[in-house]
Amino acid sequence: DQARWTDDGDDRYEPLLSEKANETVEIEDAALPDDLTRDSLTLPDPAEPELARHYTRLSQMNYGVESGPFPLGSCTMKYNPSFTEDVAARPDAAIHPDRPDATVQGTLALCHRLQDYLGRIGGMDAVTLQPPAGAAGEFTGIEIAKAYHEANDEERREVVIPDSAHGTNFATAAMAGYEVVELPSDDDGRVDTEALAAAVGDDTAALMLTNPNTLGLFERDIEEIADLVHDAGGLLYYDGANLNALLGRARPGDMGFDVMHYNVHKTFATPHGGGGPGAGPVGVREGLARFLPNPHVRERDGNYEYYEPEASIGKVHGFYGNWPVLVKAFAYIARLGDAGLRDASAKAVLNANYLAEQIDYDVPFGPFHHEFVASAGEQDAADAAKRMLDYGVHPPTTKWPEIVDEALMTEPTEGETKRSLDQLAAAFDAVAAEDDETLAAAPSRPAARRIDQVSAARNPRLSWQALDDA
């Protein structure tokens, strides 16, 4: 890569914008009376050429899917097709949400079609696009379950969640006011149906489940699980984080799930954007459609309109959700169609299996699908991950799920070639052979050396105003 000016005396990799070009403007002769205005404003003031170099430089200090393999387990870092960006940037997509329905027929038509596509893919009868992320989808789904029970005049206070589940499941249940009942996995890494039978009852509002689970394992007893939950009067919630493993092979609706969310930034290849935006549409089976968020899109005689579902839970986003993200997801699904979606899953699963086969680390559970959890064994998984950075690849998710010691949770996605998987496997194996000292000293090659997390948390400096040296 290109050399870049650095002075050995520099104590930073790239100055802050505020260190480059801060300016203070006194607020004078404002269009408002003085007592309604601030006195001054101090912010960076780079001209466009400086701005461009600053962010170009920052981008060079960041690793994306086009930089190399990005096998973060449970994150589905697949390739984000360029053309979906162009599609979402269409001027006729950049409209205001408060227009009357009759003037946004195009937008509503696209939403209606996407609802339909998602319904078919998940085996669900109705889908809302409003939740702006996966966790927001979970919240929507759990609020729907709550509304369902309330409509049945039932008070149910518990949500059951396996110990291997995503942290969001627990937090969502708590946010909705539920008590969390944590379910231990069985020795095979799956739901322990006996423990489940013991856990569910009159207080069970729902079971939240990912399938395949975070170990990549399909919950083979899903029908029994569904029966247990349904017999207890609870609902079955599907966390769609791992849907990329099953496209066209199994549908949550067919497995007995009542509610689910889709992570379009995982399964449908919209870019993760350094943490967001995503979108978390929620699908429900027919009887639950009346609880969907307000408003919902329906078609009448070729025209589209918003309406409020009769027992709607209300809103989970101020407007209609993350529209540009939804456009990208629509474009991705329309591009791939049935065969493409099926193939994406097949190749994602093959890539995970192939990679697991190539590496020296032990993979205790299986058969897995789109991801696997290896164990770093005697090594510290976090240190091993740092060392992988030195080999130029992004490491897997580490130390989670806790069911595996020193977990390396690995999801290569369908976007890798055999060549890049071999390269990735070589990095795993090189690291596996190294000693603790080497791992602890890593990384040395990326933009920054090992960063002190403890110092960051003990002495929080969350803005340039808080820096002593700035």
């Binding site: 300016e23 404003l41 912010l43 960076p44 003031d45 466009e48 461009a52 170009t56 920052l58 086009e66 990005f70 097709p81 960006e85 162009d86 006729d92 409209i95 949400p97 195009g106 696209l110 969001t168 627990f170 708590a174 946010m175 006011g177 099953l246 067919d254 290849a269 954007g273 350094g274 943490g275 967001g276 839970i313 989970v316 986003h317 101020g318 407007f319 209609y320 591009r335 791939l336 049935d338 493409g340 979606l341 994406a344 190749k347 093959l350 192939y354 740092k386 989670w400 369908e414 055999k418 933009a447 960063i451 997390q453 110092s455 948390a457 929080p460 400096r461 969350l462 803005s463 040296d469």
Partner: protein
Amino acid sequence: MSERETERGSPYAPQTAAETTAMLDAVGAADLESLFDVPESVAFDGEFGIDARSERETKREVARLLRRNADLTEFLGRGHYDHYVPSVVDDLAGRSEFLTSYTQYQPEVAQGFLQALFEYQSMLVELTGLGVANCSMYDDATALGEAATLSQRVRSVSGDRILVPGHLREGKRAVLANYADGPGLSVESYPMDDGAVDVDALADAIDSETAMVYAETPTVRGVVEENLGAIGDLADDHDALFCLGSDPVALSLLERPVDVGADVVVGDAGSLGTGTAYGFGLGMFVTREEYLRQVPGRLVGASEDAADRRAYTLTLQTREQHIRKERATSNICTNQAWVALRTAMHAAWLGPDGLVDLANECVTRPRDLAARLDEVVGLQAPVHDRHHFREFVARTDQPASAVAGDLLDEGYAVSEVGEHLIQVCATETTAEAEDGLVAALSEVAK
């Protein structure tokens, strides 16, 4: 291209057929289907019935759908604003190292995004005067919801009332209601007086059970709130959190939230960096340092690396769901980091002088337009005798629905906010369209 077509599979799954065979051999599988450990009884053997398309055809299909949107000049606001976003923001934010990266779990290879988010946080600290900004929430409504739950966590005494202004966007209130549902908070409105907070009425409404008072400036009707200090004092007197709704453009000119006693500032920071995007937003969340460990969402902090250089990392993650699970400060995981990146870029492009100029234009432009509309037969504007920011409400002699509807036919969209009330939003992007709007209203309002 034939291989790029989807008949044979995903164009984004790059294995060749030969590679697939070799890899199946390596894992000892007969074929791809045998890799799926799915019991027969739940296997899906149907079709979705979704046709594959080439990239070109997909674009045409989206174009065909979206062409059904009417071609309108929008004078719409009410929480979603159109400020011009410079091309360089699209260009830089679109770089794949930013766009396709993930949450910065490995900070050593994510310094670029972390620094950009740190800079975003810092800008919000300057704009609000408060000490801690998180690096994004979904939108203003969900940020408000998070503020309500924060109020319950940090308040020293119990109390479940959340007081909100009578003029509040319906959607925002509905989201707040859902966030309030879990912790059992009750959301109640207090009245307005000529478009601004009726401070006396608020004083009557507030009590020791009040966990949080929310106010906005500008309000959903564009009114610049003049009594923020008094509202802050009221909240303070009752040990309630004072949550202020605003946005970065308004905050460039208006009183600093810290100076009026605000404890939390929420709003849509996407008014910079996003433009009109059908309600797509960026939840701003800024609060006092004392609430640091109760803040929802991600925080970027400065630290040092092994070479003793300044470096950045996500920090205080023990607040978050992936560590704290059901005891987390929020369930948020995926956020709007990339939108925050764009906002920071846009703010830096404008610079402080540009921001202040833009904010001033948000005062003068609606002021001038209201004055012109006030001279139109059948209109009185503005309805509220207040300072306005970006937008204002006008009274119509004709039914508002008829005026707004007829305007659509002329190619202009305004909001209908009462039987005889319309709302008009004017920013720099409507500059060239205002003459046309005045002319059209002169026709349809009389």
